[in-house]
Symmetry: C2
Subunit: 328 residues, 2 copies
């Protein structure tokens, strides 16, 4: 019997979830919810109805898990608690500093309804968090490093677009190879912000705009660029579209730790992602954890969980026997 999934929000993430469901035979998409006019939305999966978001409550008994595909800034803080009153839910809430507060709000609603809510699913938070936990626990005398990229930062791209004279822009966050190598050497370096990442910007200037001024404004922008070595390239809109249209990302979580009577032995644990599409990978993680949410709830669990609380086997469609035989 398949697990019935609803998608709540149909942007990049929602479309990624739709595709990912098609890659998993035990999952079935049964409804898509949107805040737009449902009749204006053409989805890829034939025969699946699109409803207005307001109708979600009416489908509470038709959906095993609702996957929330809204944004972390304003959508999820409201939507996840509200929908956890009706459904098992999974979200990708990624405002790290506000996770404890979000957890608390969602937990209260999910406990009240007897549903399971899995929050902050994706790769960071998500798979990176899992790896920080394993690495840091196995090697308690050590140090964690996280590097991001090479990948597109939406926030930094947006910040550039807000500058006067800029028509369009794309920003790549790039980990510094020398810093990665220093970490991998086991020397436990102290690294500044500038030493860890560089920022590369591809900018389309409006006709007649002062490029030198734009470049200066980017490079000195506090928080976003001032603390980094930043490179700015001016390109045509056509070049931006053709060569920088993707949303790649990725990164590295590295734990370097010591063991032995005199802590004489060094161990390096490295987890890395190289992703052609940031939202599609996040969607794939969401879909795997939706399976876990359904299973946990079927076993009687309720309340808010994160990737750290879920046995790895629960995200897999395979039985314990199969997993032990094939993967262990």
């Amino acid at each position: 019997m398949s697990i019935k999934i609803g998608i709540y929000g149909y942007g990049n993430l929602g479309r990624g979830v739709e595709n990912a469901i098609r890659q998993n035979d035990d999952l079935e998409l049964v409804a898509v919810f949107t805040r737009r006019d449902p009749s204006s939305l053409k989805i890829k999966t034939e025969g699946v109805p699109v409803y207005h978001a307001d109708k979600a409550a009416e489908l509470a008994d038709k959906i095993d898990v609702m996957i929330l595909c809204g944004g972390s800034a304003t959508d999820l803080p409201v939507q996840t608690p509200a929908l956890a009153k009706l459904f098992n839910v999974v979200d990708s809430f990624d405002t790290h500093a506000k996770i404890p507060e979000h957890f608390k709000n969602v937990d209260a609603c999910a406990k009240e309804s007897g549903k399971v809510a899995v929050i902050s699913v994706g790769w960071d938070p998500g798979m990176f968090s899992v790896n920080r936990l394993y690495g840091g626990t196995i090697l308690p005398d050590g140090k964690d490093y996280t590097f991001w990229g090479k990948g597109v930062s939406q926030g930094h791209s947006d910040a550039i677009r807000r500058i006067e004279g800029v028509a369009d822009a794309k920003q790549y966050t790039i980990p510094v190879e020398e810093a990665l190598d220093a970490v991998r050497s086991g020397s436990n370096p102290e690294l500044t912000t500038r030493q860890k990442h560089t920022r590369e910007c591809f900018v389309v200037a409006k006709d007649g705009a002062d490029k030198a001024k734009i470049e200066q404004e980017i490079k000195t922008m506090p928080n976003y660029f001032a603390d980094y070595d930043t490179t700015v390239h001016f390109v045509s809109q056509q070049e931006l579209n053709e060569n920088h249209g993707g949303i790649p990302h990725g990164g590295f979580v590295i734990r370097c730790g010591k063991t032995g009577a005199e802590l004489e032995n060094t161990h390096i644990i490295e987890y890395s992602l190289k992703l052609d599409s940031n939202p599609e990978f996040t969607s794939s993680v969401l879909v795997a954890f939706a399976r876990a949410a359904a299973r946990l709830n079927a076993e009687g669990a309720s309340g808010c969980k994160t990737v750290l609380d879920i046995p790895p086997a629960y995200i897999s469609p395979k039985s314990g026997e199969e997993l032990r035989k094939e993967l262990l």
Copy 2:
């Protein structure tokens, strides 16, 4: 209140566990068990008694988790079921093909006693298995690759030592860089045994031994070397001791998979270990999962588990709140 740990077997792994316990404030070593004469054993931790293995049953109420540090060939298949009748246990059983049988035997005993047994803990099986599960589930349309090394294979070193005329030997398994790069490129290559790993042997010949014959015997040895490109270096015992005395190991688990409407996007997940001491790292994993065994049993769980069944948070001494705040 600390978790009281017993160590059963005091070889490389047992000594590693003893060191690892000292790195974890919430764990306390309370007894070491050996099949040797206990009075002949000098352990590092002051004030901790050493008992003969036969006395274990008498200490059943003094120990929260017994960490079994015997070998997979003959010790653990007998010891883990037997001790699971008395204790929560953790072992590093690593004969992959026999894990389902071992699981079944241990599960029956642990269910009968109401204890938790965690088997096949370490890095492969262990952390590599966890990563195969996450990677394969998140990216179902893809392919898994495991590479081992650079590291010392005890089994291959032993096989060389059994050749006539060989006084001592050390064998390194080395992943082929070109094969790793091909996998990382996302091309999903089909790789033969020979293409994935090479084998490098450092051999001490006995006086007057026929080195050409030894080299020939190594390179043509079925299963162990015949399917690999093997290099043989003859060295003095002194050089072997000085330059090849360690037990490093490591490896890579790489998942390459596709997503998107037309599976047009490629993602690479890579997990790698670079370990100065293979047994000490395995010990550190054992100790972390001992914490999980104690916690699961305190919550009422019983029976056999593997690393795949245990929520990551359960191996950590930190609270859920701390983990969400610090790591998520």
